[in-house]
Point group: C2
Chain length 201, copies 2
């Protein structure tokens, strides 16, 4: 058994969508453990860039490219894709739901990401999330407890301390609380990160 | 024979270094033609971001990650690497040299990039460039003609019109002046771009 990959993501992030749909299978193939770590990009963009929107909206030239790139990548990997009519969608509630999904984290995470980026649904709505989650719908109420809210704030703070500046990210540590975490940014680094964890370096 | 890949780059750009050292061999393997297109990122960053420095300096959290990422990628691909003591280096003269290298564009481009990112040399200096170029040293004088200066301005303007926002980029067109150019941004998209050109789509 190899190491563990922490998968850090925001449900509003386009490249996180790609990674979310592929990471569990890729980790299983490499015999690497996977831990889902939802966090919020909003406070990070505000702190580092001084913006209250996605950088892809603030920089329209880059944004135009990103949408074309996503379309091309989804075709490459055979993933469903529909450009959402609202971007970025508020992802706070979805992140809290992801946080308390326990052993269903993989399936719950994929279902919410698909709702946003394959079905263009409003994942900020509790009713939409309940429908999307089906038998896991009770998570939407559990997500709104103070304990879960505090957990999400802690995740986002940890992301800042790790030096994350976007999503998705793949984090590999030598041990718990390891200050020398190895960080891989972007869906483009997913395979490198998993190989790093599998090889114990 | 497949299509043609235009390789757009700035000699100050770290990820362009990786691409420059790998692109010619990768194109040859895929039987795709290659055209070197040096341009300047400075005016683009100034126009789109309002900054007169590299975004990796303006955003230090992202910058820290980039340096680690480059080190890791050079190890992965077996490329020499030394973090330059000055970043970004002024790349105007180097870009002009690259522009007039003709059939030696590949070798000249690699030599200048290695000087900057493997040997930490000041590629803004004509004397350094002459030394680095060896038998092609006469290019440094040819580079300073009005004609070449105008060509570089035209390349940078074309980059802006294409919607480039960083480097490297790989551009594939259906025909000359094709407004529907397919653009691939980043060393991470080099293989996808070459496959696109090879498959005629």
């Amino acid at each position: 058994m190899g190491g563990t990959v922490e998968f850090w993501f925001d449900f509003a992030s386009t490249y996180s969508y790609l990674a979310a749909l592929r990471v569990e299978e890729a980790c299983q193939r490499a015999d690497v453990a996977l831990r889902h770590r939802p966090f919020l990009l909003g406070p990070i963009f505000q702190e580092q860039l001084g913006i209250k929107d996605s950088p892809f909206n603030v920089q329209p030239v880059r944004g135009r490219y990103m949408w074309r790139d996503l379309e091309r990548l989804c075709e490459k990997y055979g993933l469903p894709w529909r450009k959402p009519t609202v971007f970025p969608r508020h992802s706070v509630l979805a992140a809290r739901v992801g946080l308390c999904a326990g052993g269903s984290a993989g399936a719950v995470t994929r279902a919410i990401f698909k709702a946003n980026f394959a079905d263009d649904r409003d994942i900020s709505s509790p009713d939409v999330l309940r429908e999307v989650l089906g038998e896991d719908a009770a998570l939407v109420d559990r997500a709104q407890t103070e304990e879960v809210k505090a957990q999400l704030r802690a995740n986002t703070k940890e992301a800042q301390q790790l030096g994350l500046f976007g999503a998705p990210d793949f984090v590999i540590r030598q041990g718990s609380g390891d200050p020398l975490a190895e960080i891989f940014f972007g869906h483009d680094r997913m395979d490198d990160a998993i190989a790093w964890a599998a090889n114990g370096r």
